[in-house]
Assembly symmetry: C2
Homo-oligomer: 193 residues x 2
């Protein structure tokens, strides 16, 4: 079976932990290959100072992929972030799954992508602040760590495990019981203290 | 104040989540700079398929640094890992803090570095299996997510938050109440479900 690609968009000062479990979980299942997308092909620098090499840039995105995921961080109000609107619209127009965690979710709100789905994010206040008139779905905000609805998965920045679980389940990246077991193991820990 | 370096050792197939919170936490405090150490200067590939550029390789490690941290993954029984024994010995001989999470802790056990400190890891059974005759401190094994003792911090692979907290506290990387608050926020989440 040909592996499908899942595109993870990283901007400078991305949050290391928000992609970590998702990318590893995708590779565990074996059905998908995670690919890093940067604004350019230059290394992207994380909040932890890691320099990550992109596999694609905004100009070289493939047409075929299973999901487009916006990883949070402090770059989602920068000029570079504007280049992600087109790719998100492409994903929605073509029925691909879209993910946004932390400020990635705020960015989705700011560009009107959360107006027809239940969703969550870094508090309702932040989505309203970023979205302004473009965000019209206050009623769709759910106070949960992660929410999947209508092909869009959102989470707040501490919802990295739940975000990963929802995306892996939606993508059928592995057996559901294995996805749930991995989630529980990381959430609860090997030891109780 | 001159920033001190904290060296994070990554081997191929390192676990993305085991360095994520620590590296970001170090940069938040501002007193330290995390630096990535690879076997060579070629990109290191994570379990999630991320390609990370090292700042140093095993031949170019600086003499001055505050801590040396072995990030887990599936590479710690590879030939490349043997090159980390010397750097760990250097750190111990010079009173630097040493960290090992997941198979990084197993590696420390396998090379006799846990025999005079209380510690934890990916189960006692794994440390005995990896350590054989070189691991003589079964009595020092503690069933906790992370343990700091005698300048060595160890954790199992699900103890990524506790590992980060213990190292940040030991390094005095930030105000203790801020380290504890960040830990609790990530551990408990913004929402309860």
């Amino acid at each position: 079976m040909k592996q499908e690609e899942v595109l993870l968009v990283l901007l400078n000062e991305y949050a290391d932990w928000e992609s970590a479990f998702l990318a590893a979980g995708l590779r565990t299942g074996g059905r998908y290959v995670p690919r890093v997308v940067g604004a350019t092909r230059e290394p992207v620098c994380s909040l932890g100072g890691f320099r990550t090499l992109p596999d694609y840039d905004f100009q070289t995105l493939p047409d075929e992929y299973a999901a487009l995921v916006l990883i949070g961080g402090t770059g989602w109000q920068s000029a570079a972030a504007a280049g992600v609107v087109g790719p998100v619209q492409h994903a929605r127009d073509n029925g691909r799954i879209v993910g946004g965690i932390c400020n990635g979710a705020s960015f989705l709100a700011a560009h009107g992508f959360l107006n027809d789905v239940r969703h969550t994010g870094n508090t309702l206040e932040q989505l309203k602040l970023w979205g302004g008139d473009r965000y019209t779905n206050e009623a769709g905000y759910v106070e949960r760590q992660a929410v999947a609805d209508g092909g869009i998965v959102t989470a707040n920045g501490t919802g990295y495990l739940e975000f990963s679980r929802e995306l892996l389940l939606l993508l059928e990246a592995d057996a559901p019981e294995r996805i749930e077991a991995d989630y529980a193991f990381q959430k609860n820990g090997l030891y109780s203290a």
